[in-house]
Amino acid sequence: MPLYHNDDQAMLKDSVAPFVAEQAPVSHLRKLRDSADATGFSCDLWAQFTEMGLPGMLVPEEHGGLGMGHMEAGIVLEEIGRNLTPSPFLSTSVGAVAALAKAGGTQAGRWLPAIASGEAIIALAIDEGAKHRPDRIATTATRAGNGFRLDGKKSFVLHGHVADMSIVAAKTDGGITLFAVPKDAKGLTADPRRLVDSSLASHVTLDGVEVDADAVIGEVDAGGDILDALLAATRTGAAAEMVGVGQGAMDMTVTYLKERKQFGKLIGEFQGLQHRAAHLYGEMEVARATVMKAQQLLDEGSEGAKLMVSVAKAKAGRAANLAVREGVQMHGGIGMTDEYDIGLYMKRDRALAEYMGDVHYHIDQVARMNGY
């Protein structure tokens, strides 16, 4: 498969890009922020997403979705990134769907159709500390009655306070098990925190939460592979969103270089800025290609996907970070103002950088996967 969008994918982009730009541009984020919106995203916008079939893009057709791949989901995520659109798409339609589709069974049958129809918002309760360490999960699930009892604390759970269901990763006797914990479960509390990018992420407490045996996603003790699928999908999706954030910041900055005059010239005429902008362009192009490669390998179910996913999250992280830093710097004083959008790009980039493993985490993973 060539590493560029085929005709169908190009068409998808042609319909999604103007839709997101018109319905949810940066001003949409500002409106939510300035009204201290307590949901974290606009339900009306999610309804519009649903009309276009977007929430169920990755949901297999037999569960009412479109059965598309990560390449297609990435097209939507890039536009979400470019417009800084607050949306539950990444956790619900990418991360949760990847886990449920991989696991199959009761929970897949229960939740996948609800995701596709736009009715269910799903949160991913994986992290437990300030950093992403999925190999050190301490939340426990112990057998109780005909089900399990969950105890532990989760952090950085996006949409955790409004989600209809949270996918909780917990330690069981023989490994990791994933659970579908419904919103109204007793002992489950979500304490939402406003983050630097105005999104809401919860500290989730599981205090003796009791769930039935069929709340298990997949098999008991065999959640490792499902968690891997969830992580690979979410990391790749976050990387695609970062490509959008970086591209948005870069485009804005290059435009500014062609408008702002100092010393009697457009600042874009100064070679000191030209070279940095050109370098940034190269980094962004490489990041985009890398993310596409990861998407392609995931869609093919290739063994090399895991390595490329970490490469993509790390590379997109570096490139988008460069884009927002150069963006603020090249805007001069105005880049520091709240009124100007470039600073919002910097904030969103920071949150995405941390999500599901930062640059350092993934560089370390690349070393491990290569035996050093």
Binding site: A289, V311, V366
Partner: protein, 393 residues
């Protein structure tokens, strides 16, 4: 089985039958690279056999049309051939400036007669070409070149000198930029082709910091060039020159990717061992190598995407400048790490154990990557101007 799968199976069988075992060993030194040409001395029978088999099949230039010595493969088929060659670690049967640079320019700008005349010997490795672009006063600012061809009716008389001409002392022919109109800067250059054995051509090797001498000063003293031996139009050689540079950049940019998905940290761990935690002993070097691996694997994806787009006309025409910039800067970084990893051992200049200081010499050689074929700074200028459309660039 799809058509492409069938093609892959066919290629696999052909390679199995035709690629000698010696040609599946890694390239160890310059002599292992087959450049071809009138005076080429094959290192061994296997090298000769491999070249001849590929040339007969059109596989030295698989995507060129058959009448010109290629196999007429589509971009997808070419990619499959490359993948299959990589799979068995087959060496390139033939490397040459003819294949990388002149060939694509002739395919684009040459007459039918020129294509048949010049491309076939390139494909078969019979004629080796060198590139006469740079002059002592004209490097990055190439268009200021002054080597002059005086019009004498049916021929030009060329005088002047070139510099940094790679392998000029080993090449059979030169493709050369010659000013034919002094009043017109951009539209006063002709892209000429002539035999290095012509009367009045002399070369003088230049020693590089690597201790090798792969390039030369080249002098033209009343060299007669028939007025049939030019590409494109008279005085419009700059268009050909620029087109060719695009291909040169595409070729040089490959260096950073370094072949397969080989991890530099993984290779060092094998050579130098790991600590009890199974990690490279020096944590800072490990971190730098891992960060480099990320960039290299990422660049490989970029290389694949670039080729897919370039070969199907989807790439921005100036994107080879970006590839060259990113790829060569990466390759320099790779060799810095190779030297750090090797420590004092890598400093040895001519010992047998270090294969004659291969690491140190290789490290020094890579410093030219971001100079030859247009410097990194010039690449950034071109990206700023032609891709980002920045003012005054």
């Amino acid at each position: 089985m799809s058509e492409l799968d069938a093609f892959r199976a066919e290629v696999r069988d052909w390679l199995e039958a035709n690629c000698p075992a010696e040609m599946r060993e890694p390239v160890r030194d310059e002599g292992d690279v087959c450049w071809g040409g009138r005076n080429w001395v094959f290192k061994n029978d296997a090298q000769k056999q491999w070249l001849e088999a590929c040339a007969a099949k059109g596989y030295t230039v698989p995507d060129w049309p058959k009448p010109y010595g290629g196999a007429g493969l589509t971009p997808e088929q070419t990619k499959i051939l490359k993948q299959e060659m990589k799979r068995i670690k087959a060496r390139s049967p033939l490397d040459s400036f003819g294949i990388w640079m002149l060939g694509p320019a002739l395919l684009q700008f040459g007459t039918e007669e020129q294509k048949v005349q010049y491309l076939n010997p390139i494909a078969r490795g019979e004629i080796r070409w060198c590139q006469g672009y740079s002059e002592p006063g004209s490097g990055s600012d190439l268009v200021s070149l002054q080597t002059f061809g005086e019009d004498k009716g049916d021929h030009w008389v060329v005088n002047g000198s070139k510099i940094w001409t790679s392998y000029a002392d080993k090449a059979d022919w030169i493709f050369c930029l010659v000013r034919t109109d002094k009043a017109n800067k951009y539209q006063g250059i002709t892209f000429m082709l002539f035999d290095m054995a012509s009367k009045g051509v002399t070369t003088k090797p230049i020693l590089l910091i690597s201790g090798n001498s792969p390039f030369c000063e080249t002098f033209f003293d009343d060299v007669e060039v028939p007025k049939t031996q030019f590409v494109g139009e008279v005085n419009r050689g700059w268009d050909v020159a620029k087109y060719l540079l695009g291909h040169e950049r595409e070729m040089i940019s490959g260096g950073g990717a370094g072949g397969d998905m080989v991890s530099i940290g993984g290779a060092f761990a094998k050579a130098f061992g790991k600590n009890a935690a199974g990690e490279l002993d020096d944590p800072i070097l490990r971190a730098e190598m891992a960060a480099f691996d990320v960039d290299v694997f990422a660049y490989r994806a970029m290389g694949e995407r670039f080729m897919d787009m370039w070969k199907t006309g989807r790439a921005h025409p100036a994107s080879s400048n970006m590839m060259k910039y990113v790829g060569t800067e990466l390759n320099k970084r790779r060799h810095e790490l190779v030297m750090s990893g090797g420590g004092s051992e890598a400093l040895e200049w001519d010992s047998e154990e270090t294969k004659g200081g291969a690491r140190a010499r290789g490290w020094l050689r890579t410093k030219a990557n971001s100079i030859e074929g247009g410097t990194s700074e010039v690449m950034l200028n071109v990206i700023a101007k032609r891709i980002l459309d920045l003012p005054g660039a």
